[in-house]
Amino acid sequence: MDFSFTPEENNFRQGLRQFFATRIPEDIKRKVREGRGLSKEDIVANHRILHAHGYAVPHWPKEWGGADWSPIQKYIFAEEILLNAVPSAQQFNVFMVGPVIAAFGTEEQKKRFLPRIANLDDWWCQGFSEPGAGSDLASLKTTARRDGDAYVVNGQKTWTTYGQYADWIFNLVRTNPQAKKQEGISFLLIDMASPGVTVKPIITIEGGHEVNEVFFDNVRVPVENLVGQENRGWDCAKFLLGNERNNIARVGASKMRVLQIKEMAKATPAGEGTVWDDPGFRRKVAELEVELKALEITQMRMIARDAKRAPGDNRPDPASSILKIKGSQIQQTTTELLLEIAGPLAAPYMPDAERRQGDNELLDDWIAPIAPQYFNYRKVSIYGGSNEIQRNIIAKAFLRL
């Protein structure tokens, strides 16, 4: 039993830290640290810097830009990018549609799409969830009817992150309405500029615009945009769900938040001293740090098991549900503690545009995003398989109850 990393792995980590420190613009990292939203330009700029150094798609097959990293290296990268407050490469491009095309696409599709996905020349978004489906993804209703050399798509997708920026959307659509739930679903790529595609914003409770509804009204999609076989789209979906593990706990992001909590608590006046002088507050932070350290090791144990897996062994590991549940709880706790620090000063609602007018000289910059972040982070125990679904998975797939 050995918790330590090899000298090579430590060098790899150091290299990443130096790269993140020197090559990623400071203002972008600062926005991440302060929990503020990134603009499309920020995301693209950051993505391209990562890609230029091989850090956007290292997990892809080598021929398409991958780096052939070990599971441990992937883990180190996933942690360090979060810990250093560097935005990830555009997730839907590099973790979702890219790997699916690489695994299930034709040579033609790979050549056509993968390089532009990797460099974020095309911005991709996801068309999976539908209104009313919730955690029951396979009950989707959007249809794609074959008509000559095209599919005609009708229906509605929802919770489409960054749909407002997207050039393309990858979709699960129903190509065989007679088949049972998971069967009869296909994986289809749709150009957002196609006639009949409409994007409607969903504003979330804190006032932000990240997600959208996407409507398809008789949208014609060339058949060559089908990935994999018709009616076998569920294979792609399952493949993606299996891919989600590495980043699921977001330990690095929570570590970064703990640092922020300490820094802010020490800077925020309370009574004769600061918030940090209150032993009761410090104890709450200590409880969080314990949970987080435990989660980090739980994650390392899973990574180590993964590293020893036979190729193709995709059996479920209850650890991924544990990481999702605990990881989301810890992330939410960080936002609660930040809110506790800010206290009454969290009340003003100052979305970026307004705040930049600079006419509220009393307002400390860092306080403004705290309450919106607390509100917004309620989502992390809902999306990607709610914590209730994760407990079902543990109970059924692992405890066999």
Binding site: S129, G132, G134, S135, D136, T158, W159, I202, I203, T204, I205, E206, G207, P269, A270, G271, E272, D278, G280, F281, L339, E340, G343, P344, L345, A346, A347, P348, Y349, M350, E354, D359, N360, L362, L363, A371, P372, Y374, F375, R378, K379, S381, I382, Y383, S386, N387, E388, R391
Partner: protein
């Protein structure tokens, strides 16, 4: 021992509910009220006045209707339930309560009738950047200059500070920043020279402002209450306000719970209403427990806030706020979680209840603050 409403109270409740359900029953209307320059609609405020709500807590001798904490509770619960944006808590209960407690007969006669008819809105500008939850932590100074007072300082998150006709604000006429003695109350015209107002919306959809006071000169008669000894009066007014706030929170929690139960009954997943899932049933039951415990403590605060034994009143209100805060967090978070995605959307009411409950948690003391008061 009797927890029922009197017939008069029942009538009041019916008319308040009718007013606010009518105005806010279509939740989208709330946006239009917020979009008014003042952050709320004058016409609605006029209807509060018509119903007599703006005079409820004032003595009849002062021009009010001489009602008690139960009547305030009735109004505040309805405000909480409907997320009404009118400045009732800040203007009538808190700022009005200060005038009622501290002002001279002359000042009362000048101000209270105007509050009651809805033509004058006051706001209590107390929060300073460094003060957190300590009412006595006041860096703003009031220096005597012959017949005038010169006020310098900064106040934060002054409720509806941009539309209030008068600010009532504590400043230090003597003593050091955290002394209990030396605090005096002043009425300040926000249009006076040296006052800068920066207004904004708050997280819960109300309005507030940061106020800078730079050598603001006010007349001697702007002093409200005893010079240098206003703190006990402020604390009493804030305790009554906390009791009202607890009632508002109960209204909001009740509504969040109601919406959640309704959603659990209607939302289908995997072929059944999700309310059929036992784990969600149990969590809905725990929400109800939290709601009823909160309701009990809101009643307790209402009964005790004006107790002549100040330390008993203080203790009771602190206990109530702890319970309210804990229940508010549990119910707010669980309401979102049990709704799932829809609960995260701006256009659905439950998220706004959650945000208001969150802001209430931080108002006049968070859980840690009040727990310290209870624990001694």
């Amino acid at each position: 021992m009797d927890f029922d409403l009197t017939d008069e109270q029942r009538l009041l409740k019916d008319s308040v509910d009718r007013l606010l359900d009518g105005a806010y029953g279509d939740f989208a209307k709330r946006d239009t009220y917020q979009a008014e320059p003042k952050g709320h609609a004058d016409a609605m405020w006029a209807r509060y006045a018509e119903l007599g709500l703006l005079g409820l807590p004032f003595a009849e001798a002062d021009g009010g209707f001489g009602c008690g904490p139960v009547e305030t509770m009735i109004v505040m619960e309805a405000i909480g339930r409907t997320l009404a944006v009118e400045p009732y808590l800040s203007g009538v209960i808190l700022a009005g309560g200060l005038i009622a407690r501290a002002a001279s007969a002359e000042q009362k006669a000048e101000i209270i009738p105007k509050i009651v008819e809805g033509s004058m809105l006051l706001s209590f500008a107390w929060q300073e950047p460094q003060a957190r939850y300590d009412l006595f932590d006041i860096a703003t100074t009031a220096k005597r200059d012959e017949e005038k007072w010169i006020i310098d300082g900064r106040k934060r998150i002054v409720a509806f500070g941009d539309s209030a006709h008068r600010l009532i604000l504590p400043a230090r006429s003597s003593g050091a920043r955290r002394d209990r003695d030396g605090v005096s109350l002043f009425l300040v015209d926000p249009k006076a020279k040296g006052v800068t107002i920066n207004a904004y919306q708050t997280q819960d959809g109300l309005r507030a402002a940061d106020v800078v006071l730079d050598g603001v000169r006010v007349e001697a008669r702007a002093l409200v209450g005893p010079q240098g000894a206003a703190l006990p009066i402020i604390e009493q007014a804030v305790d009554s306000t906390l009791a009202a706030l607890c009632a508002e929170a109960v209204g909001a929690m009740e509504e969040a719970h109601r919406l959640t139960i309704e959603y659990l009954k209607t939302r289908q997943q995997f072929g059944v209403a999700i309310g059929a899932f036992q784990s969600l049933q149990h969590r809905a039951a725990d929400m109800l427990i939290a709601l009823e415990q909160a309701r009990s403590m809101a009643m307790y605060a209402a009964m005790m806030a004006n107790d002549s034994d100040r330390s008993a009143a203080r203790q009771a209100v602190a206990m109530a706020k702890v319970q309210i805060n804990k229940s508010a967090r549990l119910i707010g978070q669980e309401a979102i979680q049990l709704h799932g995605g829809i609960g995260m959307t701006f256009e659905y009411k439950v998220g706004h209840l959650f945000k208001r409950l969150t802001m209430i948690e931080t108002m006049f003391g968070d859980t840690a603050h009040h727990l310290k008061l209870v624990a001694g």
